[in-house]
Subunit: 515 residues, 2 copies
């Protein structure tokens, strides 16, 4: 979720993009957060780690069957812990939500939508992509969830700014071309003689020529890299003229062509085959579906000297430990005896709004007509992005993500009826793709994460990673907290998994000591 | 094939990369090659186009069951032409060659290799990737060949130059960072005041800050975009320091991180599921396997007033027309009566050497240890590239392409025995991946395309697209030529397909006129 990436780096640590890496190193040290390799090492609890007391198993109640809760139950289960997962929603998975034909989607203060997608079609309403370095991919391997490439960057996709639509590849070629040309000129004029040695200058010019596809006079006059008006075949292709420097800078195009530059957004990315919830399905299987009680809303949490008691709307449960894997703002509303500091800390992170719409079309015109196979078009419209499906290429139908927006844009769409969301999304998308964008729509479902029952936010933003953050990384009595919101991978499933592992490690060490 | 891309743009039209786009426009006009939309339009021959004479079908003999020959037979078959395809090799496909366990690979003046890959493993010895704008993808759709993403660019892959190995993402981040910083400095110093307006300057600086991930003083001091020494989890990740400008320029790294900039190499690219030869299989099915005679070496071609006669080593065949879809240097050696000019033209393009090795490993260490899922590592070693498989992620085994080299490097490997090729490839790859690169190799097969019987070259290079090129785009008597070598898409299957369509169109127009 690239907005999340900006949020994390920009707003959360209050430094980020604007501050540069140097500032980040410093801040990390100041907060005592500089991680070590040790943080990444994880040894799953094993049956043989200790002889569990009593009936041979400590009992753990886990609040929330999202990715953090399920991962905790899965890892604890490896050592034979007796886990019960309480989930307030109708099904497990939390924000890992894939919608298919027949699925119901209720909304706070809104109508219940019924997805009417065709057979085999799906819409990842929550997370949609996995970076190769993320723990999520390790769990896919361990659980046997097959993965395929999620096309995040597509040179053939569009960038739409200031009313102008152009291919990403053309925008990049022009920007790179002018940057290379300008720097070559400045170098030639000796403007950088103090900064760059004579030897480096020659090498730099060689790089700039290649980087910008410059002509013999180190000028940029367009490039095949922009793509062609007519692609080569029997004869050479025909090229469109490049935009002027002024035009390519004017529309803010440059901001929208860097989507794959971040460490979490770089090519390639991955997705489970058949829908993101394949991870939920496999985790549920491994945990045991009978251990997960859905439709169970927790109403009270009491930590005791010898255990923990959790009350839910259908009964109560006593356990040795609790893992609270709920969103912090939801958890904060549940009566508990963990102290005012914990409540204050839980209330610190701010929920962020985000929304998505899935639009099923009767034909894959983006492939046959626009030659866009997967990827994302970036816009300065309130839809922000259009995602093209990275699966089912050349099949009959397909589901686009017609918007994926956050904050103010998401709130704007969130207050609309599902019909009005669709209408608005189609009107905006038409500006990029023309009239065909409004034709042949078979079904649609839209989600406003900040209006989802028992979730109430797409993710959270910490005003600062201060003592509230570190407080909740440790247990309160016998209650351990877990969730992406307790990591530096907010809005990523990998964060939920890392956090679950940390909670499991702490809980298990204590259980072994007291066994 | 990126070397091919450079060849086409650099050497073939004699202008290319060094000349820039401006020069290319001019050259296109001068050669009369500027294509029109009309060139791209293709109407397949249909049964109803005319009532074919005699038994209702004109007879066509097609020389070569490579992609051009098969495409011609397929398109002609749509109108009921009676096609016979003569193929000198043991099986159809030509350079579209996928090797699996049990396959034999003979070589001119070399031993026969036997591929010993495990069940389900394969190695695309020829073409491996398809750009989304290419005709190849349309044929995949039309023929029902499922496609998946071929990861061509991978930020996690390595660039190895001057003895230094670094992640592609780190090399790019450093190069972009310094380019942005230097241009920002030059702009600040007023070096570009004549070239850039005041308004553009502010916008340019904004872009440069984002493009280079610069700090508040517009300096580059490293970036999360480089990737992390320890990736973020519970705590922020730890960053390695960036290379110095001198270091990042010194090794020529910049030349090797632009692999996806070209119009034919941009992300995303595609491959047929299960092996490139799925295209051959489906074309063969559509043409009818009984129409393709393999092991049939053509020894004479005679164009006559009323037809064409082709002699092969097992007999002769008379037909109304012939489509010669052989490599030009192979065709040139076959006795014919098409005239000295045709022979001279066929001898004009120069065959290019290229080689590949497929290495099957017992585990996918590149995924589990290096976090490289598909993609290409670029090197300045004689192996040039290492390709990681874009399929079978997380499965037990996998086949790497241990080298894909051309010209001198390919000739160097070509003269070695298969064992020595493997040994050398493993020694080179170890420089990047360490000792594990030489461990767990289960099987290997290497191909030297310039030593392949009846092919004798990976592709060709035209010294110039002169009258020889245009001569062969027209029929000689009743013989039509086809192949990627007759297009501006040399070394791409799309070229073979475009050329086949052009030959079919010309042949069909003539057949309709004379019907």
């Amino acid at each position: 979720m690239e907005r999340a990436a900006l949020t994390r780096r920009g707003l959360l640590i209050g430094i980020g993009a604007a501050g540069g890496a140097g500032a980040m190193y410093a801040a990390m040290g100041a907060l005592g957060l500089a991680p070590s390799e040790q943080d990444k090492a994880f040894t799953p609890p094993r049956q043989g780690d200790f002889t569990l007391r009593g009936k041979g198993s400590a009992k753990v109640v886990i609040l929330g069957a999202g990715v953090a809760g399920l991962t905790a139950a899965y890892e604890l289960g490896k050592a034979g812990y007796d886990c019960t997962v309480l989930e307030a929603r109708e099904k497990a998975g939390g924000r890992n939500l894939t919608l298919r034909g027949g699925d119901r989607l209720p909304e706070l203060n809104g109508p219940v939508q019924q997805a009417a997608f065709g057979e085999g079609q799906y819409f990842n309403a929550g997370p949609g992509r996995i970076a190769p370095w993320m723990l999520t991919l390790d769990y896919c391997r361990e659980l046997g969830v097959p993965v395929e490439v999620f096309v995040n960057h597509n040179a053939m996709a569009y960038v739409h700014t200031g009313g102008r639509t152009m291919r990403v590849r053309a925008a990049r070629a022009d920007l790179y071309g002018y940057v290379a040309e300008l720097l070559a000129k400045a170098t030639d004029r000796g403007a950088l003689d103090r900064a760059v040695s004579a030897q480096d200058r020659e090498r730099l010019l060689d790089f700039l020529r290649r980087f910008g596809d410059l002509g013999p006079k180190m000028d940029y006059a367009g490039s095949a890299r922009r793509g062609f008006a007519t692609y080569p075949g029997l004869a050479e292709g025909t090229l469109d003229a490049p935009l002027s420097l002024t035009d390519v800078l004017a529309a803010g195009t440059g901001r929208l062509v860097l989507n794959d530059f971040g460490h979490d957004m770089a090519t390639p990315m991955f997705q489970p085959v058949g829908g993101m919830d394949a991870i939920v399905v496999k985790l549920t299987e491994a945990v045991g579906a009978d251990r997960i009680r859905t439709g169970a809303k927790v109403t009270g949490i009491t930590t005791l000297a010898d255990g923990v008691e959790v009350v839910w709307d259908g009964g109560s449960i006593k356990a040795d430990y609790c893992v609270a894997a709920l969103p912090p703002h939801v958890m904060a509303k549940i009566p508990h005896n963990l102290g005012a500091q914990v409540t204050a800390a839980l209330k610190t992170p701010v929920p962020v709004a985000a929304g998505k719409i899935g639009l099923e079309y009767d034909r894959r015109w983006w492939e046959t007509e626009d030659r866009i196979y997967g990827g994302v078009s970036e816009t300065d419209l309130d839809i922000t992005h259009i995602w093209y499906p990275s699966h089912g290429y050349h099949s009959g139908r397909g589901v686009l993500v017609g918007y994926y927006n956050t904050e103010r844009d998401a709130e704007l769409y969130g207050v609309l009826s599902p019909e009005d969301r669709r209408r608005r999304a189609l009107t905006q998308g038409k500006k990029i793709h023309g009239e065909k964008y409004r034709q042949g729509v078979l079904a649609d479902v839209s989600i406003a994460w900040h209006r989802q029952p028992h979730i109430e936010g797409a993710w959270v933003r910490w005003p600062a990673f201060d003592s509230s953050f570190t407080l909740l990384q440790r247990p309160a009595g016998r209650v351990y907290f877990a969730g992406d919101w307790l990591t530096q991978l907010i809005a990523w499933q990998a964060g939920a998994m890392e956090s679950a592992r940390a909670a499991v490690t702490q809980l298990h060490q204590r259980a072994v000591r007291s066994a």
